[in-house]
């Protein structure tokens, strides 16, 4: 074997190990959901059981926190998508100096630890006697998730031809029509991706939620308190369900993306023919 071929073999082996490192823990965690032991593990294997799924199904607190997670996620999407989109359009049209100034403030929340965001949100609303609760979790999460939406929409805006808006206005379109018919449709892919990321970021958020939630639970907080108070494989059952849900969502997104790619290629091919 030449040294070059050996190098190629080494890097391939490393990639395989890396993928195993990323994926095997999830497989082990999922597998432990079926093991009939009190303490979650896949070893020693004590036989196949579905009792952890049954336990999970009958856990009222889990259902409540799952509902909260979805409600908070939807609220975060509903608030952060308009804010992020508006901020991207705004920052795209101001002069360079104002732009980098605003940009700094807009990306700062992404680089701020969740605990700091959570505590500052709690203290700020406490000044107006707003008690802790999931409404504060929503606001705290929006403060950094809106930044992700802003970045996605801003990237998409770079490929926008502002001449289209001029043309629409010359043809007598109103301001609202320019926005609704010309600009927003161009931004749809970024807004869609932003909404998806916003929902998942919200659903998996722990740090901000922990400090702002008051007495309410979301799924992550529920899992966190379970891990502290007494672990049973019901958490594994929940983990497995969430992972499968994630895989389905990821595949659906990927398939949709590939379809669009193919459609775009077909359109491009048709355009060059003409």
């Amino acid at each position: 074997m030449t040294s070059k071929a050996f190098g190629a073999f080494l890097i391939r082996a490393y990639i395989v190990i890396f993928l195993a490192f990323m994926l095997l823990p999830l497989v082990i965690m999922g597998g432990a959901a079926f093991n009939d032991t009190k303490f979650p593990s896949i070893y020693p294997w004590m036989g196949l059981t579905d009792r952890w799924f049954v336990d999970l199904w009958t856990d009222e607190r889990m259902w409540g926190s799952a509902r909260n997670t979805i409600l908070v996620g939807l609220a975060v999407v509903a608030i952060s998508v308009p804010i992020g989109t508006a901020a991207a359009i705004l920052i795209n049209s101001v002069q360079a100096r104002t732009r980098s100034f605003l940009y700094g403030f807009m990306v700062a929340p992404i680089l701020t630890p969740g605990a700091v965001i959570g505590i500052s949100t709690l203290l700020f609303w406490n000044q107006f006697n707003v008690p802790a609760g999931l409404h504060l979790s929503i606001l705290g999460q929006v403060s950094f998730i809106a930044a992700y939406v802003m970045l996605l929409v801003l990237a998409r805006l770079q490929s926008f031809d502002f001449g289209l808006e001029e043309a629409a206005m010359d043809l007598g379109a109103s301001h609202a029509q320019v926005m609704r018919r010309i600009l927003i449709p161009h931004l749809y892919p970024a807004i869609g991706a932003g909404a998806l990321i916003a929902f998942f970021q919200s659903a998996e958020n722990f740090n901000v939620t922990l400090f702002t939630r008051g007495n309410s639970d979301t799924l992550t907080v529920y899992v966190g308190s379970k891990i502290r108070s007494g672990i049973t494989p019901t958490i594994n059952a929940l983990a497995l369900i969430l992972i499968l849900f994630t895989i389905v969502a990821a595949f659906a997104y990927e398939i949709k993306r590939r379809r669009e790619q193919i459609r775009q290629q077909a359109l491009d091919a048709a355009a060059t023919k003409e």
Partner: protein
């Protein structure tokens, strides 16, 4: 700004400005100012608010300075977060390079999809997975014993070992993706030219690929460090009793001590730490904020 007004009219422009202003003022800037102010006030019962004791002081920060344990935990958090950041960079660089420049184009999406799965699984479940694997009678010890590599089970979750493994696993993808993005924008001809001119592999990387990937490396380092230093769940799941994390002290003040003022002083220290780290990385790697946050 006038451009905006001309295109979208008075009402829409106003709405966009209000939305952005609400975000930046009510959700980002003023809460942090309140945090800052809170950290200089004393914790007082309601009837003493506005009284002679209700003055700004450095008392909360003195609590930190006069507590050797808290200082030690603060520096341990910095050291281990930096270590994890470095390890993440070293571990993910070969993968990023391979995905960006070596692998056949049609295989890339499959590997990305595989990597997206752990990214979308929440942090708490990821550290829980390692809690199972590393437990004393867990699968890792069983495997190693079975193969015969070790003679007796190892206590993996001792000192900061568990935390380091959990942090790497939880945040390495935040390093991998930015570095990948940066490398894939490099023209492959430059790598070939370097090889044709006789540069050994390491020099091609050191002089061509890494300088080009600097913004991605900076972005990854900043994200990973911030996530590590601010991590709540990984240390509380995977730390041994004697190895504590700075966020746990903050939690103690907020929930157990119920002294929000000292809590906010500690939170502010964490924020300052992250700002310092961002500026050091920007200075050392000579990149701008626009390059980091993309």
């Amino acid at each position: 700004m006038s451009e905006l007004y001309r295109r979208y009219g008075k009402l829409l422009t106003l709405i966009m400005i209000l939305l952005t202003a609400f975000w930046l003022l009510a959700l980002v800037i003023i809460p942090n100012i309140v945090l800052f102010e809170f950290s200089f006030e004393s914790y007082l019962p309601v009837d003493q608010l506005g009284g002679p004791l209700d003055v700004y002081s450095l008392k909360n920060y003195e609590t930190f300075i006069y507590s050797p344990i808290h200082i030690r935990i603060f520096f341990q958090t910095i050291i281990y977060s930096s270590l994890v950041t470095l390890l993440c960079l070293c571990m993910s660089y070969p993968v990023a390079f391979y995905l960006a420049k070596v692998i056949r184009i049609e295989n890339a999406p499959t590997i990305f999809l595989l990597l997206l799965i752990p990214l979308w699984v929440s942090e708490i479940l990821r550290s829980f997975a390692w809690f199972i694997i590393l437990s004393f009678q867990g699968p890792l010890n069983a495997l190693l014993l079975g193969i015969g590599i070790i003679g007796k089970p190892i206590r993996w979750i001792s000192g900061f070992n568990g935390v380091i493994i959990g942090l790497i696993y939880s945040y390495i993808l935040f390093m991998l993706f930015p570095v990948y993005n940066a490398i894939s924008s490099l023209d492959s001809n430059q790598i070939e030219a370097s090889e044709d001119l006789g540069a050994p592999l390491w020099r091609t990387h050191w002089r061509v690929v890494i300088p080009h990937a600097k913004p991605g490396i900076a972005s990854g380092c900043v994200m990973v460090f911030m996530l590590c230093a601010g991590s709540v769940i990984v240390p509380s799941t995977l730390a041994a009793p004697n190895s504590r994390w700075f966020t746990e002290i903050i939690q103690q003040w907020m929930f157990e001590g119920l002294d929000w003022n000292v809590g906010s002083a500690y939170a502010f220290l964490l924020l300052v730490l992250c700002i310092l780290f961002v500026s050091i990385v920007m200075r050392v790697l000579n990149v701008r904020l626009v390059d980091i946050a993309k």
